[in-house]
Symmetry: C2
Subunit: 332 residues, 2 copies
């Protein structure tokens, strides 16, 4: 199979014949749909009146393949999750590939296959794409943007948080970063990235009649940073119980050895939902019945303070600030 | 001014405090608007029912600054033009920055300022963004995606071309590629990139009561490739008069020396409009009254052939095929 040994060359980024061949050989094979097949400069989408969610994210993770996923899974899940967090039903994605010369076409094929699989799970169509080739050492970056439709009555916004609301975390912290760290440092363990589409959780919440006041996926910067961002945007505070935050033993062990704090470690398949106090039990139960939310826990309460306070495992209280600098570059 | 001598570090891509500082110091300064200021995971947009155009493009041009523009101008104009070509009114963009460590913040500031300026000209809001930092040698890639609204009654699609339709080219071919080539090879000349938003032309056409059957910006791969793509998508042919194709003397001279064919050279501010034969004169007149269309010319006719035929300057006829391989990498 000489075909699968081929690599990306500058010609594949020219917009000419070689680009067209790459399109049909790899992307066309997996991303075939009516909108893309029109071969226009832009997708044309029929939309009903209403609120759209619109987002973008670039993915530069290294290594490209890791336990529990690859950059293809990450780039679909990442943008889909951003839409889900606004209460939207994700509908369409665009994909922009920046490929370094020398990249194996076989790897691109695997990544595109994963993207198609993950897009199907999320119920989104890939509506437009672009490929550029740059000089380099055989690396790959992917940008995705996404559009979702926000059904009437949903309004998950930071500003909608109220004093007394409960903060529910969907599961263990730190799995993605621990997985990437382990891969880069050559540490053998069973830690898998949590990378995944959180639609099962948002469907379960709305299906149970819960309207979360806000939702946020817990990615770069970790829980500590995300909670601070939310409070800053909303002008409120939070009180978080450290003892309630789930962390896998293997991840806690690795974090301890490396001097990392799971509160600031990156995740790619975790979220928080902030719900009215009276909805908290029902929301927790709904989340725990999903694959991605089975370890969900109520971790704290919205307050009128101006900061995020952490009640530590020992019962002390300290301010939980945002991450300064990087835990680890090129993690997502 | 030590501030402007600063460079991008891995910490700026962490999602933590340093990322936030970069946001407010550079992006927040120029991209300030109500949607971005909500600091949510995705923009929330109120939309009327109708057809949306949706597109994406990544920009990897080197050098980042060139005569007539920079990567910031390019990344706005490129995606806006893709939307315009579908007959859309461009409304919202997302921007994804992938910045190599060591990139000067002063340059990022200049690029962001240009982006804001070009977005304002195009009448689009930057609705969402993302920044990643990667190891490297101080380079920059930008992805933009865009949404536009297609007003009722407009349908610029390849499939709408009809036999006898006239093909109007908006101006001189090859300026962008000639400019980038000159910059990279250190050739001193006055050639400027044509990089720009083509809204003046589409506004003029629709304003004159013309409904183009199809439009396409003439970018990577050049006119030859774009015409072939259109014909393939529509199942038609074209007959093009080489003598009618405008090329600037300086660009023609440079192309001659370097062995390049302007028919395959990249442009970043040129388009073709395919209009009904009876609309051609009016369309040409409308285009010629705009800044970006002042050198517009009718260059050919849609046929029922299966290929693009070029009537050469000497009166012979040859098949005009797509570009094979690359004219020049990292041109856009």
């Amino acid at each position: 199979m000489s075909e699968t040994k081929d690599i990306i060359t500058m010609a594949h980024g020219s917009g000419g014949q070689a680009s067209h061949e790459l399109m049909s050989r790899v992307f066309g094979k997996y991303f075939h749909n009516e909108i893309l097949d029109a071969l226009e400069d832009a997708a044309v989408l029929d939309m009903e009146a209403g609120k759209l969610a619109y987002s973008t994210d670039s993915f530069v993770v290294t290594p490209l393949f890791f336990k529990g996923g690859n950059i293809g899974k990450l780039c679909i899940a990442g943008t889909v999750n951003d839409l889900l967090m606004m209460g939207a039903e994700p509908k369409y994605l665009t994909c922009g590939f920046i490929i370094e010369e020398g990249f194996p076409i076989e790897d691109l094929d695997r990544i595109a296959a994963t993207m198609a699989e993950e897009a199907a799970k999320a119920g989104v169509l890939i509506a437009a794409g672009d490929t550029k080739v740059v000089d380099g050492q055989g690396g790959l970056y992917i940008n995705t943007s996404g559009i979702g439709i926000i059904p009437e009555g949903r309004a998950a916004r930071a500003a909608n948080m109220k004093k007394g609301d409960k903060i529910i975390l969907s599961g263990n912290l730190g799995d993605h970063q621990a997985c990437i760290y382990s891969a880069r440092m050559g540490i053998e363990n069973e830690i898998q990235s949590d990378c995944g589409v959180l639609k099962d959780i948002t469907d379960a919440l709305y299906g149970a009649g819960i309207t979360p006041h806000t939702m946020r996926d817990v990615t770069r910067g970790g829980l500590g940073t995300i909670l601070n961002e939310l409070c800053k945007a909303a002008g409120c505070g939070m009180r978080i119980e450290e003892s309630q935050i789930p962390v896998d033993d293997k991840v806690a062990g690795l974090a301890g050895i490396l001097g990392l704090d799971p509160l600031y470690m990156a995740n790619e398949g975790k979220m928080i939902a902030v719900v009215a106090e009276e909805d908290a039990d029902k929301a927790l139960e709904a989340m725990r019945q999903t694959e991605h939310g089975k370890n969900a826990a109520v971790i704290g309460t919205v307050t009128e303070d101006a900061n995020v306070q952490l009640v530590t495992g020992l019962g002390g209280v300290r301010v939980l600030d945002v991450l300064y600098g990087e835990g680890l570059p090129r993690i997502c």
